[in-house]
């Protein structure tokens, strides 16, 4: 392996989240009965015409602004002509030589030495991002092929990277970062299971030090981010095997099966289509002016890595907590809301990343569906800060809040979970503990500081856990005269 390096370029298709399709007003959707989301335009009935849904263009411009792309001042639509049953017009509306976005980059974070350590950051340059419409879906039955056009005409972005990715880990980090940014900005849900994000990888290898690119193989059907990583690893190994055993790589398209971890040749690239691209005469070019871009830029959220840096530098969070919090925009917002309500950032982050995420996972709940709000976290952190509850009491309160949705203070009151700072009672418990355990008391007086722990434990028992440990320590020492 070390003799070779891989050169990888990705083509990622992302379904844009719009209410209606890209060139007609019919709704977009997933899981509806077949062919219910159609109209004359979707079905390409004779005479039907496309009209651009501006929301799709807004979304790709926003994506471009977010990723630092050059945004075209004029963009237009081309017809990509080919016959296939899932393509109702037998041409696809796409963008050929005037895509909306060129260049730009996706910032990625590679795995660190451990989960607690931030890995290297790197920029993966993009070639272009363009808009196109999705096609329908073929369902093959024993003797028939049925077509569902519900997906046909859904707006898609095709994001194409430069061939600058060097490993499966980088590809994984690229998709993770891209997905995170797109979800943050509300452009797509990027649910790979629903086909909202699909990836093809172009992979070649060359001996380290060589400049010339090797023959590339296109890997298709990578329908989860882990499959992308596994597929690339497998393909690089396959290519190295072929080359080291004296063979040559054939330019081809291979289908990767994530279940079996194998790929198989799909078709040879020699049969590549002549798509006969030409500008669609039914759609007018669109001018994108500065004002439009400024308006959209204002709608963009803070980018995930910027948020991560801010959490670490301004709020003092450790990398491990910050990286977990920014993974999900809703979680990060939840955390910030708790901080805004007065919670200490580190304490809030700990409760959220440890306890809340663990309990949500165990209950298979989404954050939005849980009874815990930012106010619950802030309330709990405050109780601990004030010394009103001990850490073990706090854990008990959290578990109760998670079940009942009651606020922390209310739970503490209901369950009597408050530390006692009543000095009269504390003095009594301490005196009883000393009287009951003369041996330990003597050891403390003789200078064995650790022996006081036995006495403290006794006081906690006597107080049924309510005694404020700090006060108990002070009183015991005073009563023992040390």
């Amino acid at each position: 392996m070390s003799d070779f390096e891989a050169v990888i370029g990705l083509e990622v298709h992302v379904q844009i989240k719009t209410a209606s399709k890209m060139f007609t007003r019919v709704a977009t959707g997933y899981g509806e009965p077949p062919n219910t989301l159609t109209d004359p335009t979707v079905l390409a009935l004779p005479g039907a015409l496309p009209v651009l849904n501006k929301a799709a263009l807004d979304a790709i411009i926003k994506t471009g602004l977010m990723l630092g792309c050059e945004i075209a001042t004029v963009t237009r639509w081309d017809r990509k002509n080919y016959f296939y049953p899932d393509s109702p017009k037998n041409y696809q509306l796409s963008q050929y030589d005037q895509p909306v976005c060129r260049h730009g980059a996706v910032e990625i974070e590679l795995p660190g030495a451990s989960l607690a350590v931030m890995g290297e950051h790197k920029k993966i340059e993009l070639t272009r991002i363009h808009l196109e419409e999705d096609v329908g879906k073929l369902n093959h039955e024993s003797n028939d092929s049925l077509i569902d056009y519900n997906r046909a005409g859904t707006p898609l972005m095709e994001i194409v990277t430069e061939p600058v990715i060097r490993s499966a880990d980088e590809a994984f980090a690229f998709l993770t970062s891209l997905r995170q940014s797109l979800i943050y900005a509300g452009i797509s849900d990027c649910d790979m299971e629903k086909g909202q994000m699909r990836c093809d990888a172009n992979i070649s290898i060359r001996r380290v030090g060589e400049m010339k690119l090797g023959t590339k193989v296109e890997l298709k059907n990578l329908n989860s981010i882990s499959y992308v990583r596994d597929g690339i690893v497998t393909e690089i190994k396959r290519q190295i095997n072929v080359v080291t055993s004296g063979g040559t790589i054939v330019q081809e398209t291979r289908l990767y099966d994530g279940e079996t971890g194998r790929s198989a040749s799909m078709r040879s690239k020699e049969m590549a289509h002549d798509y006969r691209y030409f500008p669609d005469p039914d759609l007018m070019p669109v001018r994108i002016d500065a004002e439009w871009k400024v308006r959209l830029a204002a709608e963009l959220p803070e980018r995930p890595f910027a948020k991560q840096t801010r959490f670490i530098e301004q709020l003092g969070l450790p990398y491990s907590a910050a990286s977990v919090l920014v993974r999900d925009r809703a979680l990060a917002d939840f955390f910030e809301a708790a901080v805004k309500l007065g919670a200490k950032p580190i304490a809030a982050a700990n409760w959220i990343t440890n306890d809340l995420l663990r309990d949500l996972a165990a209950a298979s709940l989404a954050l939005a569906d849980s009874k815990i709000t930012a106010a619950h976290i802030a309330g709990l952190v405050a109780l601990v800060e004030q010394g009103a509850v001990s850490s073990s009491q706090a854990k008990e309160i959290f578990a109760d809040m998670f079940q009942t949705g009651d606020q922390a203070a209310a739970v503490a009151d209901r369950k009597g979970l408050r530390q006692s700072s009543d000095t009269g009672a504390l003095e009594g418990w301490c005196a009883t503990a000393i009287a009951n355990d003369a041996k330990s008391a003597d050891q403390v007086r003789a200078g064995n500081a650790k022996a006081i722990n036995a006495l403290k434990g006794a006081v906690m028992k006597l107080s049924a856990g309510k005694a404020n440990p700090k006060l108990v320590d002070e009183i015991l020492k005073r009563q023992l005269g040390v």
Binding site: L43, P46, L52, N90
Partner: protein, 485 residues
């Protein structure tokens, strides 16, 4: 008195308004007329009598309730069989759509319904509007009512023939390279190709999207003005539809007509029938005598119009017609074994020779390696052609030319497709430039065949164009002649 079926919208709407006539009576009269002449004219692909009469009944009911929708209410209007009407066949005169019934209305259809028109039958045309004689219809040619051994012109031949034969009171055609103006000239009618973008193309079976435009046929400029008013205007369902005001074209007829007329010298050369040349000269004299300023202008790129047109139109057609594949609707081959075979056989069985010829040509000019040499170059030529016109319009308001170089020819006479393409030499430039143009009757040949005069206007100045045509029409009787059928 002129029989009902040869009257104009203007006359008939007055009679309907005065209750001298009902829409049902008018529709019944036209159905009877159609039955009498259709065996000789074959202007219709189909006629739904029940549906037409139901529309007439509804129109009469509106009028009785004092809710008439204006001059078109109750007037039978025929539509070329490339314009969608809900529940009616939409065949484009092709076998591939032989049994297709449209589930939706074209925007012009909806506009005419809103105006109260009685939509009357599906009119014959060249298959997918490709042709200049109406001989390319899969259902057989239409005939010219002035001489049924001759063609009515194409591709909107049925729309012209039905009106000239008195089967409808007005009709709509579509014009990609002259398909309204040329049959209007050959059948002695007024035909208007509006500015590209003035009339919605939504629901028009596309031939060449950047050139296609729906327009009206009428017996008079007044009738054309009335129909245009009803169908023009911005349509959110057509991205190429223009946001322009729609003036009252009929009122504009009485207004001042443009006075500076240009005669493009390239349009009066070789190939022009001398009788047509003389008739057009006479019309020029009329305008000059009326005080118009007439001057010769030049459109230097005219010689490239035909070449550019057949590259651009066929390129777009090859893509537009890809949807006819036997998968979702239309003819599906029973002999197919797999998907590719299904496309190949369905299309081979469904399309006629001229359509196949253009699809193949269009596929070729778009294919990689040829795109720059043909399609891109043709688009550049198109720009030059448009600039020619705009330059001319800096000097004159309107251009005056013959519509067709020859009068109606015999069915079957022109067997060579390239010879047929030459018939559109005076009309094609207008489509490439996106301009409005009208063909107006301007005489008859010694053999009794109609001659047409073409007036070409500036973008969206249809009102001026019609006003200019109207002054000429008022001074002669060509429009009042009817064929002996």
């Amino acid at each position: 008195m002129v029989p009902l079926h040869f009257q104009t919208i203007a006359e008939l709407s007055g009679r309907l308004e005065r209750r001298e006539l009902s829409a049902v009576e008018l529709t019944q009269a036209l159905i009877a007329r159609t039955k009498a002449v259709e065996p000789r004219v074959h202007a219709f692909n189909s006629l739904d009598e029940t549906d037409a009469l139901a529309q007439a009944v509804a129109s009469d009911a509106r009028r009785a309730a004092g809710q008439s929708r204006g001059p078109l209410d109750g007037i039978p209007v025929g539509l070329k069989d490339v314009i969608a009407v809900t529940g009616q066949p939409l065949t484009a005169s092709s076998k591939i759509l032989q049994n297709f019934v449209s589930p939706y209305d074209a925007t012009v259809t909806r506009n005419l319904k809103n105006a109260g028109a009685v939509l009357f039958g599906r009119l014959n045309c060249d298959e997918f509007a490709m042709g200049s004689s109406n001989e390319n219809s899969a259902f057989g040619p239409a005939a010219n009512p002035w001489d049924t051994t001759r063609v009515p012109g194409g591709s909107s031949g049925g729309s012209a023939a039905a009106l000239a034969a008195g089967e409808v009171i007005a009709s709509l055609g579509s014009d990609t390279g002259g398909s309204i103006r040329q049959p209007a000239a050959l059948c002695g009618l007024v035909g208007l190709k509006p500015t590209y973008g003035l009339v919605s193309r939504y629901g028009l079976v596309a031939y060449a999207s950047s050139l296609d435009q729906i327009g009206p046929f009428g017996r008079t400029t007044e009738d054309v003005a009335l129909v245009l008013r009803a169908i023009a205007g911005h349509d959110p369902l057509d991205s190429t539809s223009f946001k322009a005001d729609v003036p009252d074209y009929r009122a504009a007829l009485a207004g001042p007509a443009p006075r500076r007329i240009g005669i493009p010298k390239e349009y009066f050369g070789e190939g022009l029938d001398p009788e047509i040349g003389a008739a057009v000269e006479a019309a020029v004299k009329f305008y000059r005598d009326r005080g118009c300023e007439v001057k010769e202008v030049s459109l230097p790129h005219t010689q490239y119009c035909l070449d550019a047109y057949y590259v651009i139109a066929t390129a777009e057609a090859s893509s537009n017609l890809a949807r006819f594949d036997g998968v979702r609707y239309g003819h599906r081959s029973k002999a197919a074994t797999d998907a590719i075979d299904l496309y190949a056989k369905s299309r081979a069985e469904g399309f006629g020779a001229e359509v196949k010829r253009r699809i193949i040509l269009g596929t070729y000019v778009l294919s990689s390696g040829y795109y720059d040499a043909y399609y891109l170059r043709a688009q550049k030529v198109r720009t030059l052609i448009r600039q020619d016109f705009l330059k001319a319009f800096a000097e004159v308001d309107t251009l005056l030319t013959p519509t067709s170089p020859v009068p109606a020819f015999k069915i079957g006479e022109k067997a060579d497709p390239l010879a047929m393409y030459l018939l559109d030499i005076y009309t094609i430039g207008v489509n490439l430039a996106g301009l409005p143009a009208a063909s107006v009757p301007c005489g008859f040949t010694s053999g009794g065949l109609p001659i047409g005069l073409q007036l070409i206007g500036q973008p969206f100045k249809e009102a001026d164009l019609l006003a200019l045509a109207h002054t000429y029409e008022q001074a002669q009787e060509w429009s009042r002649r009817t064929p002996n059928l």
